[in-house]
Amino acid sequence: MKYTFLLASLLGFLLLAGCSTTRVVLVPDPDGKVGKIEVVTRGESQVLDQAGESVTVGSLLPPAEPTILSQEEIDSRFGSTLQNEPAPPTTYILQFRHDSTELTTASAGELPAAVGLINRRNSCYIVVAGHTDAVGDKAYNTELSLRRANKVRGLLIEQGVEARCIETLSYGENDPLIPTADNVAEPRNRRVELVVR
């Protein structure tokens, strides 16, 4: 008699868990790069690392061998999700003159395109991250990179972008685009990275 409850519980668990299936598919990213997934089921692990590679995991049977899904199968299963992905963030790299918050002529010319994209996407998730090269001391460069970021922020606001939609970061000389030794002048590192999401 006392086993009836146990049996009922077990059956209930099997029914509930038995209904659930997980399918995982690895696909190329927007740049064509293929990453890797580790799928762990009840202590057993499988690795997917091929484009289109897929595995299905139910609750009762051991996981099946991975298979490669065709584009048609991927589209039929994930079409409405894939069609509604947000556009990937766009990054503009704006360069500055040496020890200055003045944009180079070429970079100043890129701003209208950035503002156009912000308006088209109706974006309220904009990041301006200031950077410097390795000339001068670190504290000074952190402050200079903040001034650069604020300069771009001001220019965007002048063009009608809402202030509350812009996040400002300053990296100083800590995150160079082109790594150099200390005190090396590198124009490509004197920059603001403007990310439009």
């Binding site: 659930s20 995991v57 409405s80 999700t81 509604n84 309220c124 939609c165």
Partner: protein, 149 residues
């Protein structure tokens, strides 16, 4: 005069002690970038309609109806799209790039999703994990689709 200094000191201490808490609370982890109705966000017992540019917080639960989709861009640039008839719980999200502290933990209860990794995936690939009712997924980049029936 001493009294005044005391009061000022205590006020300052209170301010210093509470400021980090306030900062913690207001730190959103991403924003809604694209949405088709109906899509909802459950937070602190409230149900919010997911509008474009709505801020997202850790512990939010995303829910979509049969015609709904919800695309989110996170702080680190991770792009997560929830398909129709889906339920996804963002259980943990940490992104402190200067200290290399990162974590992404989600639970996919049903439906489908697309995940495209951001800076976190490049910096610390082991920190991105999704649980489903039958599996535990370690996402080492860069684009992954998951469907739970």
């Amino acid at each position: 005069m001493n009294r005044l200094i005391q009061i000022l000191f205590f006020s300052l201490m209170c301010l210093l002690l509470t400021t980090p808490l306030l900062a913690e609370k207001s730190a959103y982890i991403g924003k809604v970038a694209k949405v088709s109705p109906d899509a909802m966000i459950l937070r602190d017992g409230q149900t919010l309609v997911a509008n474009k540019n709505l801020e997202i917080f850790a512990n939010d639960l995303f829910q979509t109806g049969p015609t709904g989709t919800l695309g989110i861009i996170f702080r680190d640039g991770t792009i997560l799209t929830i398909g129709p008839s889906s339920e996804f719980h963002i259980r943990d999200y940490v992104f402190v790039p200067l200290e290399k502290k990162t974590s992404f933990l989600g639970r996919m209860r049903q439906g489908s999703l697309s995940y495209i990794s951001g800076a976190m995936g490049r910096m610390n690939p082991d920190s991105v994990r999704i649980e489903t009712p039958t599996a535990y997924l370690g996402l080492r980049g860069t684009k992954v689709l998951v469907q739970v029936d």
